[in-house]
């Protein structure tokens, strides 16, 4: 087990450097004038130019710049925005919103997704199953920003069930954004649970459990569920990382001042350093959650554990 974790950690480090390198390269290497890239479309005077060159070591080759950047990153220095504000400050303020949003969305996905999936899986082909399939298909098909927009309009403006924007960060104001954010994951979770449950219900060990005279409630609730939930739980773990990425759209629509919101602003203002910083952090989180999920998988499925 320990060897497994160590191996995955090493892989993770490799992937981390690989992805941050790509992100950094995408952001900066493409443009012929790196200083202009830093400033976007704004004109730059010579003094500013010299100062920026010195500060960011811009006269040095690309790889060195990358190395410097990574060194700073790992010490917690995420650089500064064009305006001079430290990126880490901005992120520290924005994080709580995104975390609350993400966890709320995950909770909704877990509770409703698994329940609906189990019911659909048990009564495969039934009315509930077909309705769920249709609804999930629509949710998967319509892009988040469309559903988010309509939800905001219908439920926020017209029916006034929820606040239109969530700048205060209270749970109530985050509820609708969380539902929208989680909608796609919810649909996938339902389908995954449904398939897993339906497959496991046909397994041989179910026949054995019934032959032991166990009550159907126990056969399904303990034997089938424990096996069916393995892929679902691992999926949920990975989804937490995805939710962080998907929050960009939701936070933009609902004006939640979280990390995604900041990222979108940075894109609009062509603020290179901020974009790279935020994406790098998100990549780290994504990789970490993947690692945790892999370990979780080994914990849940004894067949993996003893390789």
């Amino acid at each position: 087990m320990l060897r497994f974790v160590v191996r995955r950690l090493l892989q993770m480090i490799l992937v981390f450097f690989g992805t941050t390198f790509i992100v950094y390269w995408l952001m900066f290497a493409g443009s012929t004038d790196p200083i202009q890239a830093l400033a976007g479309e704004r004109p730059i005077s010579d003094t500013v130019r010299r100062e920026l060159t010195e500060r960011y070591h811009l006269d040095e080759p690309f790889l060195v710049r990358y190395a410097n950047y990574m060194a700073n990153l790992l010490c917690g220095d995420l650089g500064e925005q064009i305006t001079g504000r430290k990126v880490s400050e901005i992120l520290a303020q924005a994080w709580p919103y995104t975390i609350k949003l993400g966890l709320l969305a995950l909770a909704i996905v877990a509770v409703f997704g698994i329940t609906a999936g189990v019911v659909a899986g048990i009564r495969r082909g039934g009315v509930f199953d077909n309705i769920t399939l249709m609804i999930t298909l629509i949710v998967i098909g319509v892009p988040t920003f469309v559903t988010g927009f309509f939800a905001q309009y219908v439920l926020g403006v017209k029916i006034k069930l929820f606040p239109v924007t969530s700048t205060d960060g209270t749970l109530h104001s985050l509820l609708l954004p969380a539902i929208i954010l989680g909608a796609l994951s919810l649909a996938t979770a339902i389908r995954l649970t449904r398939t897993s449950v339906a497959e496991n219900l046909r397994a041989d060990y179910v026949r054995t459990a019934r032959a032991k005279g166990l009550a159907r409630r126990r056969v399904v609730g303990v034997h089938v569920l424990r096996n069916s939930l393995i892929p679902v739980v691992t999926f949920l773990g990975v989804e937490l990382g995805n939710l962080m990425g998907g929050a960009i759209v939701t936070e933009t629509i609902f004006n939640v001042p979280g990390v995604g919101f900041q990222l979108r602003n940075a894109i609009r203002l062509e603020d290179g350093p901020t974009v790279v910083a935020i994406v790098s952090i998100l990549v780290i989180i994504y990789l970490l959650t993947n690692l945790v999920v892999d370990v979780l998988y080994a914990v849940l499925d004894p067949r993996i554990r003893y390789e």
Partner: protein
Amino acid sequence: MSDLTIQRGPVPGGHLLEVRDLRVEFRTRDGVAKVINGVSYHLDPGETLAVLGESGSGKSVTAQAIMGILDTPPAHITGGQILYRGRDLLTMREEERRAVRGKEIAMIFQDALSALNPVFPVGWQIAETLRHREGMSKQDARKRAIELMEMVKIPAARTRVRDYPHQFSGGMRQRVMIAMALAMNPAILIADEPTTALDVTVQAQIMDLLGELRRELDMAMILITHDLGVVADVADRIAVMYAGRIVEHADVHSLYAAPAHPYTKGLLESVPRLDAKGSQLATIRGLPPNLMRIPSGCAFHPRCPYARDICRVTVPPQQVVGEGRTSACHSAKEVLHGSRG
């Protein structure tokens, strides 16, 4: 609760288990398959009955019908009775049925790796019925699980009780299944092809174990198999099945010495013999029937060397051909005499 508890002890004037004229259909999108067409057999305390037949003969379905674990749909029981200690299981409510299932009649299956739940330790699975159906405490149930594992001769039971199914070899896994089935001291054990997935030496060990346990626990056993070699040492009586019917029923010695049905004869003759080196293997020509279109009359007639006109038209009744022997063949006596000598 007296309704649900079943008394042990000798059954007054009847068999321990009796299947009477059981009929089962499988209704699918492509048609109706008549899987069981009037099967009758019985089992007395301490006996071993072997049910012999190839894939599709209906031997496993009969056992599952007895246990009450057939998937309905697509399976439908369309007739007959299954009497356990004189009470018809098919007319019982599900709670009464469940009281019998696993506790009075237990079943073990062919492939232990898929039949055991991969995510729970074997000790947990063995003790599960003890904890949840007999209300034992966790510690007592665990102790009993270790005892059961030792009874089926699993070495180092004390430590292995925490292991998972995939950590055992095929033979050991089958022993785990046996231990699990015996946990509640059933009166009848149904073994559905228990050794088919194992290699020959392990097969012999498992069959020996089953024989021993049966004697020690004074248990009756139904052994379902397609393998003639496995049956000979263990069974008291044999029922041969073909296309959902019992075609021959005899005690094991008489059957092997002189079969009274062409199918049984064909099966016995197709067993390769060490002293027949160099000659061609005998086979039964033709293929087993499509259960959605069973041949008219006797289902075996297209493949039968003794077939006559009547065989195409009339389903042969069970004819008594000796003491406690029946054969469903119009030419039963002829076959029997042809076998002797």
